[in-house]
């Protein structure tokens, strides 16, 4: 299928990688629209873009905390809660709740990553009032019925066993586990079979009461709604939540060094290798230079170094990539490659070679310009739908950025010079502290 496959790596490989790391969205953004800040009488702060050309209202929200707040031994509780919140609430048991949502053409769903618990709400503006009622019930009065929990648990168990055969997921999970030993980030985002079995209804309730509060809530709204109406909606939906969450402290952390690839055996002709190390935090003055460098190394273009050397020149992979990602408590440069079992070591050697080459000589001026040009210009593609704008605004709030994040990002990238990238390359592309995990049956990694 998909040809230049770089884009496939972006669409397929990266999304998988991100999903596993527990990221729900792409970084980047660009806005044509004006972002308003809405402060409700009830104390909720939201960003709003009014967009009247479609009769749709889209709201995305997040409670800071996420899977990192799960008690030990109860991994997966946040995901289980996310999967059950929209299956019955208030006076509407499971099927009735979902039928009502269908009748109103309303889409309500929840999700979690490592750092935040997310909600997504989409409705036709004509049905707003009734749809908001449903959302309020899901957030503040979920039934979490035993039958619902058992059913969802069995779906999670089925998924866990299925994903044990998925090279991408296994490699990413292994990478997180070995790179953050002892830290909440090392744990399985969707739980292990053991922890999924251990979760009780009380655990779901306890997590909900600790994490879902107004004090750690971030909201982004886009669509056929004005500020006054949005304020009313938000106070209505969230007023029953506690003012403040009870979050456990989570330590800042750097990925551990695991130079020798750790292998998880999964059947198949091809292995997936994941490699990574410490990155740059979003608020680091060199973050944008690191972003440019990561694009040059393994961004979605056939001229990216890793793509050129591994795919274009040698045909050793259909996808290979690198990205920079910032968790709330860690920053990583991470990448992946899917290669034949007999050439995993070869591909990893090429990865190291490109790290060294870029670290020693730096990129060319042309590479820097091309990467900057792509990162600045493509920004608008991440903001050309209501759903994407809402997602970007929410991410920006979670990262502590201001409403001018679109212009700010552009200005910061524009300022990056080759000298900045060369300086960053020396520290970002060190190979002596890489962490490498492999899922598959590699045959050329040595003893």
């Amino acid at each position: 299928m998909i040809a230049p496959a770089l884009a496939h790596a972006r669409a397929g490989g990266r999304r998988l990688a991100l999903a596993l790391l527990g990221l729900t969205a792409w970084q980047a953004a660009a806005a044509a629209a004006e972002i308003q800040e809405v402060r409700t009488p009830g104390g909720v702060v939201a960003w709003l873009v009014e967009e009247r050309s479609l009769p749709i209202v889209t709201i995305r929200f997040a409670f800071e905390g996420g899977a990192a707040q799960e008690p030990d031994g109860k991994e997966g509780v946040a995901s289980l809660l996310a999967a059950t919140l929209d299956q019955g609430a208030g006076h509407l048991p499971g099927a009735a709740f979902q039928k009502q949502a269908d009748r109103l053409s309303t889409r309500i769903s929840f999700d979690t990553d490592r750092d935040a618990f997310f909600g997504s709400f989409e409705t036709l503006s004509a049905n707003l009032a009734k749809s908001v009622e449903l959302l309020k019930l899901a957030v503040s009065a979920p039934l979490l019925e035993p039958a619902t929990l058992e059913r969802t648990r069995s779906q999670f168990l089925a998924r866990a066993t299925f994903e044990a055969g998925d090279h991408n997921k296994v490699a990413n999970a292994k990478w997180m586990a070995q790179s953050f030993p002892g830290h909440a980030y090392s744990r399985a985002l969707l739980g292990t079979p053991e922890s999924i079995r251990a979760v009780t209804r009380d655990d779901l309730e306890a997590y909900r009461k600790r994490v879902l509060a107004r004090g750690n809530l971030r909201v982004a709204a886009v669509g056929d709604i004005d500020a006054a109406k949005l304020a009313q909606v938000l106070d209505d939906v969230f007023s029953a939540l506690p003012a403040q969450p009870q979050l456990s402290p989570v330590a800042d952390v750097s990925p551990a060094t695991v130079v020798r690839p750790q292998v998880v055996k999964v059947d198949g002709p091809q292995s997936v290798a994941v490699f990574g190390r410490r990155g740059y935090a979003r608020n680091d003055p060199d973050y944008m230079a690191a972003l440019v460098l990561t694009q040059i190394l393994g961004g979605g273009s056939s001229e990216a170094r890793l793509v050129r050397e591994i795919r274009e020149k040698r045909g050793l992979a259909y996808w290979v990539y690198s990205i920079l990602y910032t968790f709330k408590h860690a920053s990583v440069l991470i990448g992946g490659v899917a290669s034949p079992n007999e050439a995993v070591g070869k591909s990893l050697a090429l990865v190291r070679e490109q790290f060294r080459e870029l670290a020693e000589k730096g990129p060319t001026q042309e590479e820097v310009e091309a990467a900057k040009s792509y990162l600045i210009g493509s920004y608008v593609l991440s903001l050309d739908s209501n759903a994407k704008i809402a997602e970007q605004m929410l991410r920006s709030q979670l990262q502590g950025l201001g409403r001018d994040f679109v212009a700010e990002r552009k200005a910061q990238i524009a300022k990056v010079t080759r000298a900045d990238v060369v300086r960053v390359a020396r520290s970002l592309l060190a190979t002596d502290d890489l962490s490498v995990a492999v899922a598959g049956q590699p045959t050329d990694l040595g003893p």
Partner: protein, 462 residues
């Protein structure tokens, strides 16, 4: 391969979707069909469709060729897809990979997809660069060169692609085997990416022959969605694609005909990576192109009522009430030239055997065939399909795909835009009739994915 985008909906939306909203909200008013997209044809026969979406200064530029994986002859499976990869190599003007490099530098993204009936190439980029995209796309429509070395390396990439998207994924392997069993003779049985042993035999010469035969303006459709006017697209298209001469004698080659289906088939795949036992059943059904009027719409309502989401019949009965399945549902692959496919699936619940799962699914289907949907199921299904159409208008790429995929099989803009109205007219009896007619075991293949006991993924430190 299919499905890189979820087929979606109509656009520029304001008027039309407001009309639909009112209809949904009051659930009585008839929404008049609204025209959004417009079309014209260049002198050389290239069809052009413009879909305004003015919310952001962005365009989606797509060229569809009316040729795909099902047009490959025996022994050359995967050729259309291989050519799609090679289309990113050198032309007289563009160096290998240059098109993507230029697009990337302009802040755009590009890709291409091959399906059974079509192959399409797209760029999404800031609107001021539409002309550049058109110039390059027009160039590679006729001027592809290809050198042996780049062909050989790219063939390796496709081998790796096959491993990534098929061989490493038990469900994809099962799908390939089931499709080959469902179609006894029609070339839909051939995987678009190609069979493993045949990909290495695809050559530069074969690719170029295929290219010269099928890549021409009168076999192509240009779709432009975004912040652009019809007039501007017309001017740019005439100045770029319009300069390429029409190719004489070009038509879609005839495909092997599918004989009457006479027996239920079964495929069982044992794979240590399967995790949980699951079952799928594919039925041969008409597509929107081949169906009698109203039948495809009724099939859409049928699969939605039967198996789309947690309020659907299969999910409610098998997952919620009986706990025989961890998940269950149905889908309908409906946009295809020669035939559609229905899919009914279930993932076994804890400790549930394959036979029990299959019997439970069949009991639901038997009852549905006899009774049809309830009025409530009918209304929920329609409402869900139509709201999907409206929400789909939020995504420009989905919008462009909806028009492109339908026009590539010879359907019209009106066919696409009148769909919500036709859907509203479907009755419970229409649904029951298509269920009785097409949920026919004789025209089906049942696939079971069984987790092998041995060789489960074990963690081994090295």
């Amino acid at each position: 391969m299919p499905g890189s985008w979820k087929a979606a909906a109509a656009a520029h939306a304001a008027l039309a979707t407001v009309g639909l909203t009112v209809a949904l909200a009051t659930s009585d008013a008839e929404a008049a069909p609204q025209r959004r997209a417009s079309e014209f044809t260049l002198a050389n026969g290239m069809q052009v469709v413009v879909i305004p979406d003015r919310r952001a200064p962005v365009v989606t530029h797509v060229v569809w060729y009316r040729v795909g994986g099902a047009d490959n002859i025996a022994g050359q499976s995967g050729l259309a897809h291989f050519l799609e990869h090679l289309m990113f190599k050198s032309t007289g003007k563009l160096k290998s990979g240059e098109l993507s490099r230029v697009v990337s530098r302009l802040g755009g993204r590009d890709n291409a997809v091959t399906v059974h009936d079509a192959t399409y190439y797209f760029q999404r980029l800031p609107k001021e660069h539409l002309r550049t995209a058109m110039v390059m796309e027009a160039d590679r429509m006729r001027n592809l060169r290809l050198v042996d070395a780049e062909v050989a390396t790219e063939r390796e990439v496709v081998v790796q692609e096959r491993r990534s998207v098929v061989d490493n994924k038990p469900l994809a392997i099962l799908d390939e085997l089931m499709t080959a069993a469902l179609y006894v003779n029609h070339s839909y049985r051939i995987p678009v990416i190609g069979w493993g042993p045949e990909i290495p035999k695809l050559s530069r010469e074969l690719a170029l022959q295929f290219y010269r035969r099928f890549y021409a303006p009168n076999n192509a459709i240009l779709i432009v969605a975004g912040d652009v006017s019809e007039g501007e697209v017309r001017r740019l298209a005439q100045d770029t694609f319009g300069r390429i001469p029409r190719q004489a004698g070009l038509s879609r080659p005839p495909r092997p005909a599918e004989p009457a289906q006479r027996a239920a088939r079964r495929v069982e795949l044992r794979d240590p990576r399967a995790g949980t036992l699951s079952m799928q059943r594919y039925y041969l059904a008409p597509s929107y192109k081949t169906a009698a009027p109203g039948e495809a719409e009724a099939l859409d309502v049928m699969v939605t009522a039967l198996g789309e989401g947690p309020t659907s019949r299969l999910y409610r009965l098998l997952v919620e009430e009986k706990s025989v399945a961890a998940n269950a549902g149905a889908s309908y692959s409906s946009v295809a030239l020669d035939s559609g496919t229905l899919n009914v699936y279930g993932v076994a619940g804890d400790g549930v055997k394959g036979e029990a799962l299959e019997q439970a699914i069949d009991a639901v289907l038997t009852d549905f065939i006899a009774q049809g949907p309830t009025e409530e199921e009918l209304e929920l299904a329609k409402s869900s399909l139509i709201s999907g159409y409206i929400y789909g208008a939020d995504n420009q790429a989905s919008l462009a795909h909806r028009y492109g995929s339908n026009l590539a099989i010879g359907r019209t803009i009106a066919d696409v835009e009148e769909w919500p109205d036709r859907l509203q007219k479907v009755t419970a009896e229409d649904v029951r009739k298509v269920a009785a007619k097409y949920l026919d075991l004789q025209a089906s293949v049942t696939g079971v994915l069984v987790p092998a006991e041995e060789g489960k993924a074990l963690e081994a430190r090295r």
